[in-house]
Amino acid sequence: MSNPQLGDRKFIIGGFFCLIILIYICRLFYIQIIDEQYKDEAINNALRKRTEYPVRGYIFDRKGRLLVQNEPSYDLMIIPKETKGCDTMGLCEVLQINKQEYLRRYKKAIQAPNSPRKESIFEKQMSAPVYAALQEKMYRFKGFFVQKRTVRKYPRPIAAHLLGYVGEVTKEKAEKDPYYREGDYIGVTGIEKSYEEALRGIKGIQIAITDVHNKMVGRYMEGKYDTLAIPGKPLYCSIDIDLQEYGEKLLKGKKGACVAIEPSTGEILAVISSPSYDPNLLVGGKERARNFTKLYYDTLNLPLFNRALTAMYPPGSIFKLIGALIAQDDGLIDRNTVYPCAMGYPPMGGKPKCHAHGGGKNLPGSVAASCNSYYSYVFREIVDQKKYPVFKDGYNHWRDQVKTFGPGTRLGTDLPYDKPGNVPSTEYYDKVFGKNGWRSNTIVSLGIGQAELLLVPLQMANVVATIANRGYYYTPHCIKGVGNEKYLDPKFKVKHYVGVQKQEAYQNVIDGMQGALEPGGTAFTNRIKDIVVCGKTGTAQNPHGDDHAVFLAFAPRDNPKIAIACIVENAGFGNTWSAPIVTLMIEKYLKGKTDRPEVEKRMMEANLIDKKKPVAEKHR
């Protein structure tokens, strides 16, 4: 029914239509004429960026010998839109893939974030024979080209944990950090990770504008934004290749770690974690993935686990050194202090136990003989000293002093992932024993480096370096310098003074350590001709099985060149397994060779992992 009143509604309807269209026209005017943003983005879309990958920096040892170098590697790239007329079957044959796999990769290359008009990786890091075969027939594979990159190569298969490895960047990282694109390489662990920014160099980019036929029509802004790849900086490592290699040979077949530091600089001379692996296993495309999986699932040996920095061990008797230093500093004991020992600590009914070392000892003697009773007394003297009416304050004083030597906090080295270890707090013991449920005697085994006390091998080495320096240390680091200018982070040039500065105290302790390698000392069997070695054995009880063998030492006594700590898991006495390794390495480093080839042979051949360990020699 036509209602004349409704005739006006045609204007409303028509007007509404016109209004909407007017809004659209305004919008079009805005985005097409006023707003330049879309034009820029359109140019961006049509730009072809070609990345030139820089060569990753070489790594040298402290004497300038090559530790890590590069080897060319070839990625096969695809531009899907240009593959028309490609000899697909031929390509599949060369790459040894089937048609399904070809189509799968092709599909991946055309889907976002890839584009049919843009290049993406088709086959990663082709092996040399594949590359050779491909190169011959390349003219038949339209839309494909080879991009050259480099991968790592290790002339000597050592220091895997220290160096770390280079892997593909994770998706998250690539999204967060504009430097990386998916498929790029990045240092994943070790030095490769900590010095990634220096090592990676700077990528070069060439930007071209293309027309509708995907032909290059020119360089973007006349090449104003093109850049050349800048190679990564060389890295001068503080490691001594020979020492590192020698240490790895000695620790082969054993689980454990060994860290050697140059006390006068804090430079790490060798850092060994055993079992290790050949770093050459973790380069390359498919092989790396396969090898990594194999190493990752070796749960018995944990070859990827860096024990030197992340395994926390009870330190055992080596910790007595710190006790002796703190007590002397507090004026509680001196060189001539003697405590009774009845094959154990008398006040607690002979616990902790001790061994037959021939009567009460003075301070240096107690270090050399490693008397458990002596250091139980020393621990109590410190905690219960009169200065602190409340024994918990005494305990905190002890704890604070210990922590100045490094244990309980991350040392802050230039290697990623070092663990802090553990020096238990009063709150912890309150929780375990109740607020009033513990006394100094309850936790007296802390004095001999047991109970909840945990250190990583790097911290043990740092402790001995501190004693070698008589009271200070430089934060351990594995780099002498970055780049040709040998830049070193200033934080590694700062002397850290520990809580004990009384030189006499160090004198007495070092006398004891020297005594350990003299007749009557715990490591007498491992003495070295011509070099005064100051050492300390440790035999750390642990919940995982037989005692860990621990030994630390520095040498020579005056003007020390090397401080070193070694731990061999579940091996027994420190003197049997760790002391030989440490002293052999000291010989190697200071003299270049050992005078004790039979010890060297025994250590290198001993295998404590695969078969039941040989019966330990009688401990002296």
Binding site: S2, L6, I13, F17, Q32, Y38, E41, A42, T210, V212
Partner: protein
């Protein structure tokens, strides 16, 4: 006006036909540009979409001519018949159709496909025109608050709505083609022209606004906003009679209903539909993911500038940055290669066609013809507004074609039938006695 029966174009509106032909040809040329590929340069190559479109266009011409040849009374007389048949075919497609991307709405005959839902538009329009042109029918005009009045007033509106809602639900729920179902909303414009109370539109508009507001802010906030607006209206503009207060209270209750229903509706949308809404409301920024289409579409159009990059010179559309650029996003090709001038030309052509249809509708003697004409205008406008709106980021992405322009046989044929029935009705208008 000549009544020469030998000339099928006798009385047919030349302007409409010319505009139609121009749009179809421009559409075809732009499909060629959108799909263009160095290896297939022959515009007649039927293995490519532009070649196929030429076949569809030929079919459309035959259909148009046939429609003009048939007696106009046929469409009036068999309006319900058409509706029934097309509805039946749309049900059959659920059983005989081929599943494409999760929706079963296509008949396949070898290489070609027909989507019957497209044809539902003209069928609904015919049925609606037939129903509303019945002299006894009055679409409600007044708003009163008495139950029998309500029933009397709104009964026919409700019946009219049923004509649209049934196929809309069928297409949305069972054929899973939400875009094609939403189109039926356009017929509200016809009801409005035929006397539907403005209150419906106001209510609808308010509900839609509230829906959007609730999605942007929280439920509580939007309720407070509604309360404030209504309270403000009560204080400032409206005589505070008891009746008006009751009405305002009712409006508030309805608003509360809408607000509370919003989250329910939103949570029951398909994930991709949620994303499209979120992107439009800028609640979600995801240029590489769900918002990719719209972003690339805007880049393509925006990069066209004033005059465009020239035919076949568009880099954005060439490199397939914009998906679906031959169908739903065909306007990008226009925007990029023909610039502001080209885009506005196309928009004005479409607008001219629509306004011309309205103008012609108003001169009809027969109610049926007028109502049908408004249906044509409404459906065309809805397509133009939503399609172009989505390419420039003013509408959510709803997959409906640009009339006469996008690639696709079903939509071209359906729009041709829709339009040419009206052209025939109009050509015949002088023969109809009131």
């Amino acid at each position: 006006m000549s009544r020469d029966q030998n000339n099928i174009f006798a009385g047919a509106d030349r302007l409409i036909i010319i505009t139609y032909v121009v749009l179809v040809i421009l559409g075809w040329l732009n499909i060629y540009a959108a799909v263009y590929d160095e290896d297939h340069q022959n515009i007649l190559d039927t293995s490519q979409k532009y070649g196929k479109q030429l076949i569809w266009i030929s079919g459309a011409v035959i259909i148009a001519v046939s429609i003009l040849l048939i007696d106009a009374n046929f469409y009036t007389a068999f309006a319900y018949g058409f509706y029934g048949i097309v509805l039946f075919i749309n049900i059959m497609v659920l059983f005989l159709g081929k599943e494409v991307k999760g929706s079963k709405s296509w008949f396949r005959f070898g290489d070609i496909g027909i989507q019957p839902a497209e044809f539902m538009k003209f069928a609904v329009n015919l049925a609606l025109a037939k129903f509303l042109s019945n002299t006894n029918i009055v679409v409600s005009q007044q708003f009163r608050l008495r139950l029998n009045d309500l029933i009397k007033n709104y009964k026919n509106t409700v019946y009219a709505l049923v004509f649209m809602v049934v196929p809309a639900l069928l297409i949305m729920k069972f054929q899973k083609e939400t875009g094609l179902a939403i189109v039926f909303v356009a017929f509200i414009i016809v009801l409005y022209r035929e006397g539907m109370s403005v209150n419906f539109l106001i209510f609808g508009l308010l509900a839609a606004t509230l829906f959007v507001v609730t999605l942007v802010v929280t439920q509580i906030t939007s309720l407070l906003i509604a309360l404030a607006v209504i309270g403000g209206a009560a204080i400032l503009f409206i005589k505070r009679s008891r009746k008006n207060l009751i009405i305002l209270a009712l409006i508030f209750v309805c608003s509360a209903g809408v607000v509370l229903a919003t989250n329910y509706v939103y949570n029951h949308l398909e994930p991709h539909q949620k994303d499209r809404i979120d992107i439009l409301l800028q609640k979600k920024v995801d240029p590489k993911g769900k918002g990719y289409n719209v972003r690339q579409s805007k880049i393509a159009i925006g990069s066209g500038g004033f005059l465009g990059k020239g035919y076949l010179q568009g880099t954005q559309t060439k490199y397939d940055f914009v998906p679906e650029q031959d169908t739903d996003f065909i306007f990008c090709t226009v925007g990029e290669e023909w610039g502001f001038v080209g885009s506005t030309t196309i928009i004005f052509l479409e607008l001219f066609l629509i306004l011309r249809v309205i103008f012609l509708s108003e001169r009809q003697r027969s109610d049926f013809s007028r109502i049908y004409g408004y249906g044509v205008a409404a459906v065309l406008f809805f397509h133009v507004a939503v399609n172009i709106g989505m390419t420039i980021g003013l509408m959510p992405v709803i997959g409906i074609p640009l009339p006469f322009f996008s690639y696709g046989g079903s939509s071209l044929w359906a729009f041709t039938i829709l339009l040419f029935i009206f052209v025939k009705l109009d050509a015949n208008r002088l023969l109809i006695l009131r």
